[in-house]
Amino acid sequence: MIHIEHVSKKYKKADNYSLSDLSLFIDEKEIFGLLGPNGAGKTTLISILCSLIKPTSGSFSIKGLTYKEHKNQLKQLIGIVPQEYALYPSLTAFENLKYFGSMYGLKGKSLDEKIHNSLDHLGLVKFAHKKIDTFSGGMKRRVNLIASILHNPKVLFLDEPTVGVDVQSKNVIIEFLQELNKNGTTIIYTSHHLNEAETFCTRVAIIDHGKLIVKGKPKELINNNPGAHNLEDVFISLTGKALRDHA
C-alpha cells in the first residue's frame, strides 16, 4: 500500500537531518501509528507523504502511484487532518465542509447529505450553521477531521488528531476513525498519547532523531521489551528520558 524507501529530509539552514534513510511499508487497512518525541520527524514524514514537502532523497509510493506521475489521482486518494485547525474561522462548519468537499469535485445533495451525516456522527449537527470561531478546540478538531474524509479517501493521514481535546471528544474521534478503518480506509496517524496508540493502532513505528528505531504491533513491542508494561515503557526505554526541546 505505502512503500517508503530510504527517505531522508534535511531542511534548509538545519544542521541535522529531520528524517534519515527511513524505509517503511504500511499495508492496506492498517491503523499505523507514527510515534516519537518532539522533533523526531513524524510531521515531516506525514508532510512528505501528503506532498506538502519534498524529500531530500529517497522515494515513496501510495498504491503504486507517485506524485510526480499521478498527482491528482493521489490527491483524490488521500485525506489529511493537519495538526492545526485548517478551517476558515468566519465560515460556519457547514460552509467550511461544503467548500472543502467541492474541492474534491463533490456537489449537490450528495455532498450536503455526506456533510450532514458526518456532523451527526461526530455530534456536531446542531452546530452545523455556527461559525467555527465560536467552537471549542474539540469541536474544531472534529470538523477538521470531517473536512478530510468527505471524499472517502483510501488513505487518511492524521497529525496529532486528538491533541488538546477533552476525553469525550477524543473518544468520539477514535470511534469514528475505527469505523472508517472498518470500511476500508488505511489510517496513518501521529500522536503523543501512547495509551491511545496502544489500543487504537494495529502497528506502530517509533521514530527518533529522524531514524526508525522500531516497528511492530504494540503488544509485540511490549513483550519484546523486558520490564515494559505498556507502550510508554517501550517508548521511554528506546528514546530515553532526556527532554527534547528544540527551536
Binding site: 501528503c50 506538502l52 519534498k54 510526480k68 493537519p82 485547525y85 485548517a86 474541492m103
Partner: protein, 422 residues
C-alpha cells in the same frame, strides 16, 4: 468550473462576514474622493474668491507704484496691506505671518520716466525731430529692482504664478510709459490718440466639443478617475492579506493536498475582488453624480461614456488584482503584505500621475511612469472622461493592463509551484 465557483462563493462569504473590511473597502474610497475633490475645488475657489493678504512696502510713492497697487487690488487675488519698512515686512513673511511681501524701490516712477524719456528722445533725435544736444546731456539711470519675499513654506506653484503676474504687470507699465513718452514728444494735445495701447496679440483656449458644446474640464472630471483608480488599486491590500491569512490559518495547507490547482483558487479570488472593484467604481460614479452637486461641487459628466468607463474599470481592476495575487503569494506575513501593499499603491499613484501630472516630472520619472499600471489606467480614464476617446483610443492602455494582470498572475502561480512542488 464547479471548483472555481465554489472558490468564488467561499471568497464572497469571507468578505461579507468581515463588516469592518467591507466598510474600509467601500466607504474609505468615497471619503477619500469627496475630501480630495472638496480640497482641490476649494483651492481653485480660494484663488478666485478669497483674497490672500500680502504686504507691500511702497518706497516709491509715485505713479508706477500706484499702478502696481491698483493692479494687485484689481487682480482680486490679494488683500494689500501696506508696511513701512522692508525689514519689518521681511521678518513677518519669513516667520510665516504672510505668504508674500513686495518691496517697491525708491524713485521707481521717476527713474522709469527718466529712462523712457531718454530712450524716446534718442529715437526721436535719430529721426531729426529734436535737437542733437538733448541726447548729449543724457544722464545714466540706475535700473530698479522690485523685491519679493516669500514665506519659505510657500509652494513653488504659488511663487511661480505670483512672479509671472508681477512680471506681466511691470512689462505693461513699461510699455505704457513708452507710449506715453512718445505721445508727449509727438503732440502737445494729450487727448489726441496716436497709439492704440490695446494688445494686438491675444490668446483663446479652444476646448474639445461634443454636439457643438465645449467640454469644460473641472476638478470633478479630473479627480473622480484619478482617485477611483487609486481606490481600485488599494484592493491589493485586503487581497494580499486574504492570501497570507489562508497560509497562516492552515487552510492553504489543506488546499495544497486537495485536487485543485492554485490557478482555480486564485480565479475564485479574482472573480469576487473584481466585483468589489466594480462596486467601488459604481459608488464613486454615484457620488460624482449625486453627492457632489448636493455639496456644491460640479456634477460628474458621464453622458454616453458609461460602457467605456466600465471597460476601463474592469481592466484596471484586473491589473490591481494581479498585483494583489502576486504580493499575497510572495509575502509570508500580514506585516509584510499590508505595509508593502499600501506604500506600493501610493508609489504607483505618484508615478502614474495621480498627484503631479506626468509631463512635468523629470525625464527619468516620466520613463518610470510609462511602466506604472496606474498611469495606463489614468490615461484610459482621461481618454474617456476628458478627451471623449473611443474603444480604439483606449485599446493600447487596456491591453497593457490586461497583460499586466496575466503576467503577475502567471508569476504568482509559477512562484507557488516552484515553492511547493514535490
Amino acid at each position: 468550473m464547479h471548483k472555481l465557483m465554489a472558490s468564488a462563493h467561499k471568497e464572497f462569504l469571507l468578505l461579507i462576514r468581515d463588516i469592518g473590511g467591507i466598510a474600509i473597502l467601500f466607504i474609505m474610497p468615497l471619503v477619500l474622493i469627496v475630501t480630495i475633490t472638496l480640497i482641490q475645488d476649494s483651492t481653485f475657489k480660494t484663488v478666485a474668491d478669497t483674497k490672500i493678504p500680502i504686504l507691500v512696502v511702497n518706497n516709491d510713492q509715485g505713479t508706477v507704484s500706484e499702478t502696481i497697487l491698483e493692479g494687485l487690488k484689481d487682480s482680486n487675488a490679494f488683500e494689500v496691506i501696506l508696511e513701512n519698512t522692508e525689514e519689518a515686512a521681511k521678518n513677518l513673511v519669513f516667520k510665516g505671518a504672510y505668504q508674500l511681501a513686495i518691496v517697491i524701490p525708491e524713485n521707481l516712477s521717476s527713474g522709469l520716466e527718466q529712462k523712457v524719456a531718454q530712450n524716446v528722445d534718442g529715437i526721436i533725435s535719430k529721426f531729426g525731430l529734436e535737437e542733437e544736444t538733448d541726447s548729449l546731456t543724457k544722464i545714466p539711470v540706475e535700473s530698479k529692482e522690485v523685491k519679493l519675499y516669500f514665506d519659505p513654506a510657500t509652494q513653488v506653484s504659488f511663487k511661480s504664478s505670483v512672479k509671472n503676474g508681477i512680471d506681466k504687470m511691470v512689462s505693461k507699465i513699461e510699455t505704457q510709459s513708452i507710449y506715453k513718452a512718445f505721445q508727449e514728444q509727438i503732440t502737445d494735445d494729450p487727448t489726441e490718440v496716436i497709439f492704440e495701447t490695446e494688445n494686438f496679440i491675444t490668446f483663446k483656449e479652444i476646448l474639445p466639443k461634443t454636439d457643438n458644446k465645449d467640454i469644460i474640464p473641472n476638478s470633478v472630471q479630473h479627480n473622480v478617475p484619478a482617485w477611483t483608480l487609486f481606490a481600485i488599486f488599494f484592493i491589493i491590500v485586503p487581497l494580499s492579506i486574504n492570501i497570507v491569512k489562508e497560509k497562516s490559518q492552515g487552510t492553504f495547507v489543506r488546499l495544497r493536498t486537495n485536487p485543485v490547482s492554485y490557478a482555480t483558487v486564485l480565479g475564485g479570488k479574482t472573480l469576487i475582488y473584481l466585483t468589489v472593484c466594480l462596486i467601488q467604481f459604481v459608488l464613486m460614479l454615484l457620488v460624482g453624480l449625486y453627492v457632489f452637486p448636493a455639496i456644491g461641487l460640479p456634477t460628474l459628466d458621464v453622458s454616453g461614456r458609461l460602457p467605456l468607463l466600465f471597460v476601463v474599470a474592469i481592466f484596471a481592476g484586473l491589473a490591481a488584482i494581479g498585483l494583489g495575487l502576486l504580493l499575497g503569494t510572495i509575502a509570508k506575513t500580514q506585516e509584510q503584505s499590508a505595509p508593502f501593499g499600501a506604500t506600493f499603491v501610493v508609489i504607483l499613484a505618484a508615478l502614474g500621475g495621480v498627484w503631479v501630472p506626468v509631463f512635468i516630472m523629470p525625464k527619468f520619472m516620466q520613463t518610470l511612469s510609462n511602466i506604472s499600471p496606474m498611469n495606463w489606467g489614468l490615461n484610459a480614464f482621461y481618454d474617456v472622461f476628458l478627451r471623449h476617446g473611443s474603444l480604439l483610443d483606449i485599446l493600447p492602455e487596456i491591453s497593457l493592463l490586461f497583460l499586466f494582470f496575466i503576467a503577475t498572475t502567471i508569476i504568482a502561480i509559477v512562484y507557488n509551484e516552484k515553492k511547493n512542488t514535490v
